[in-house]
Amino acid sequence: MGWLVKGHPMYISTMLVVSLLLALALTTQQPPPAKPRTFEEIAKQADAARTADHIQQAIELYTQGLRLRPSWAEGWWLLGSLLYDQDRFQEARAAFIRFTALTSKPGPAYAFLGLCEYETQDYDAALKHFRSWARAGWSGTPNLIDVAVFHFALLLTRDGKFLEALYLLATEEAKKGSSPALVEAMGLASLCMTNLPEDYPPERREMVWLVGEAAFYASLDPRDFARANEYAARLLSRFDREPNVHFFRGTLYNFEHKGEQAAAEFRKVIELFPDHAAAMVELARIDLTYDRPEEALSLAKRATELTPVDSEAHDVMGQALFARDRFLESVQELETAKRLAPDSSMIRVHLARTYGALGRKREAQEEIAAVKLLKDKEQILAPLEEKTRVRAQHEPTKRQ
């Protein structure tokens, strides 16, 4: 980690200062609380210490109280919150774990757990808890929701769920406007980099920043394509040999409904990286839009060979076959796509249409019914404003 200021003389001399001079005149500690005897007394003192902003004392008192009464849910919640506010994430996590086991409404605690686990680099657990939080209704204070959504998005990017991540980041953008952190997060997701802001190579900083700015302006409501394109042009002038930069450029053109220009960018991606299946899928989609089913079919076929488990490749191949009236083969591809992505309502729509073309009405109706259900399920990632009930403050359970 020392790469950032290696050889920095001030930094090195600081080391000496640290070792030689940093004997601190430590301020007097807060006086230890008088030792109360009962749980009630301890709880009362803990609340008083917390209210008076005597954080260390409050932490000690809650810990004492919880030793006497481990079933005290509010105590775990308040202890976790105090530790979280002090950035003591490992300890906060332990408290929130205890809280979730004791409460019937763990919603915001899931968000805190996700945040603590993010900070302690337990990323898989963090993502799991953010998903639990989403399923529980995205509850919490507005500030908690903002921080949690942002970190949820970072973890989705790390997990390769770039579109979901961008969706969440766009909701944050709509609420809070631009910030360097948001731009960086959008840059990583838009470049399909499975990195966190803390761990991507410094030499990619410029690219991430330029892509992030372009993505930010393209996601605004109303979209600001003039500024997005300004950053995109700058990006291309600097990173013309990067396939994912052209892929991003193509995506931006798609946003602008500039199909042919988008197609040119996706072709450039394939020229630079002949096995770029995602570019083939995008290009095939554009070919379908421009009524070029043969070209689409050829690209989609190649994409399915390269990434046989990519539902989108099978979906677009199914559509290309449909466009050539090869309905039976289309159904096969779309059923494969459905198997790979059972939650995709779009694939079900395509499948229903193809079943319909084959006269298989019952199956078509089943798919239409499934679309309805899936639309509801997809609401997990629907705009936050629609489904978060912003609470003034989480109400902990009563003392037990």
Binding site: S13, L26, R205, R227, E230
Partner: protein, 382 residues
């Protein structure tokens, strides 16, 4: 380095029990019996042994001893502090950070601890927290630790640039230059802030390092009033990087004070390269106001506001343009918005002082005068 440190810990671990047995031999065992008494004496022994080991530069051993003592007394401030500094020295920044956080819960008013925490977080790339904590250390003060203060200022300046707070960064860097700090280290941070590139020095693209250094050297030359050197450096920049965003703005900003016509030309060239550049628009608008062309100024200021509605500088120039165009009511309204968004900017208060006076609002003018005096007093303090 981190791996090396870990190895050292492992290597010393085997001999640690032998070494630490010495103090136990010379320190008589306490007579009191029972777990509380033995725990207390054990803490005393461990803490003294840790201090001795640290003073004798047996740092790996000191780390072990402090850790053991802290297991017995987790909120022991000295222990948390010295353990943190030992970890920091060994470039074990995650551990330093975590112990500093515990220390700061116990003792939150210690500037150097916030500084060390911020520097640790810089190394773990938690930049938002790092900047926040380093700035907190600045406001709490670092006592007479001059070298530590220099490091803190450096990290704050480069982080401000990364967070696109270019003017704040530039102000701090120039203050560092004026205070006589070695300028070699400041060239790249200055260049990045001047070119408005939100990178750390370590993130400068290899093929742009020369440009950044040219910009930094030019900024230093201007500060030292070496105009000829500055001119040469700017010429090098625009010749070698004629289409690079930021280059013509920087040269134009320099020329505005020397040869405004050429400055305007450079600013316009910048707008050809970066059509949404707000600072270039505002500098041109300012020049239009100076040359009593308020209509042109107003147009550019309005464009700037449309591009960056939250920019207090754009509001300021819009206010100045409106007043120059004779619309003092709207102008005052914009200046008031600019003042509310950035209350520490003296120029806005001066503008309002003049505008209120002209509008026959002596009470408001008086309030602005007081604000100016207060700000001047603040800035004149070290």
């Amino acid at each position: 380095m981190i791996v090396r440190a870990a190895l050292l810990v492992l290597l010393t671990a085997s001999s640690w029990s032998q070494e630490t047995s010495a103090p136990q031999k010379v320190t008589p065992a306490p007579r009191a019996s029972g777990p509380v008494a033995s725990k207390a004496s054990s803490f005393e022994q461990l803490s003294h042994a840790a201090e001795r080991a640290r003073n004798e530069n047996r740092n790996d051993e000191a780390i072990h001893l402090y850790q053991q003592a802290l297991e017995l007394r987790p909120t022991w401030p000295e222990g948390l502090w010295y353990l943190s500094t030992l970890f920091y020295e060994k470039e074990r920044f995650v551990e330093a950070r975590d112990h500093l956080r515990r220390f700061l819960t116990v003792d939150p008013q210690t500037g150097p601890a916030w500084a060390l925490l911020g520097m640790s977080e810089f190394q773990t790339r938690e930049y938002t927290r790092s900047l926040d904590h380093l700035q907190r250390s600045m406001s709490l003060g670092l006592g007479d630790r001059k070298e530590m203060a220099q490091s803190v200022f450096y990290f704050v300046a480069v982080l401000r640039t990364r967070f696109e707070l270019y003017t704040d960064s530039m102000n701090l860097l120039m203050a560092m230059v004026k205070s006589g700090q070695p300028t070699d280290l400041l060239i790249e941070p200055l260049g990045l802030a001047a070119l408005r590139l939100p990178f750390l020095p370590a993130e400068i693209p290899a093929d742009r390092r020369e440009l950044v250094r040219l910009a930094g050297q030019a900024a230093l030359a201007i500060e030292a009033q070496r105009q000829e050197d500055a001119e040469k450096l700017f010429m090098q920049m625009v010749t070698k990087y004629p289409d690079e965003p930021g280059v013509h703005f920087l040269y134009g900003a320099y020329l505005m004070d020397q040869r405004p016509d050429e400055g305007m030309r450079e600013m316009k060239r910048e707008l050809e390269i970066s059509p949404s550049n707000v600072p270039a628009r505002l500098r041109i608008a300012e020049q239009h106001i100076k040359e009593e062309r308020p209509v042109e100024a107003l147009q550019l200021a309005q464009q700037a506001i449309a591009l960056e509605p939250t920019s207090s500088t754009a509001r300021l120039i819009l206010g100045e343009s409106l007043i120059a165009a004779g619309d003092s009511a709207k102008g005052i309204a914009e200046l008031e918005k600019a003042r509310d968004a950035a209350p520490d900017r003296v120029r806005t208060h001066w503008d309002l002082l003049r505008a209120y006076t002209a509008a026959g609002r002596p009470e408001d003018a008086k309030r602005e005068k007081e604000a100016i005096e207060k700000l001047n007093t603040q800035t004149s303090q070290p």
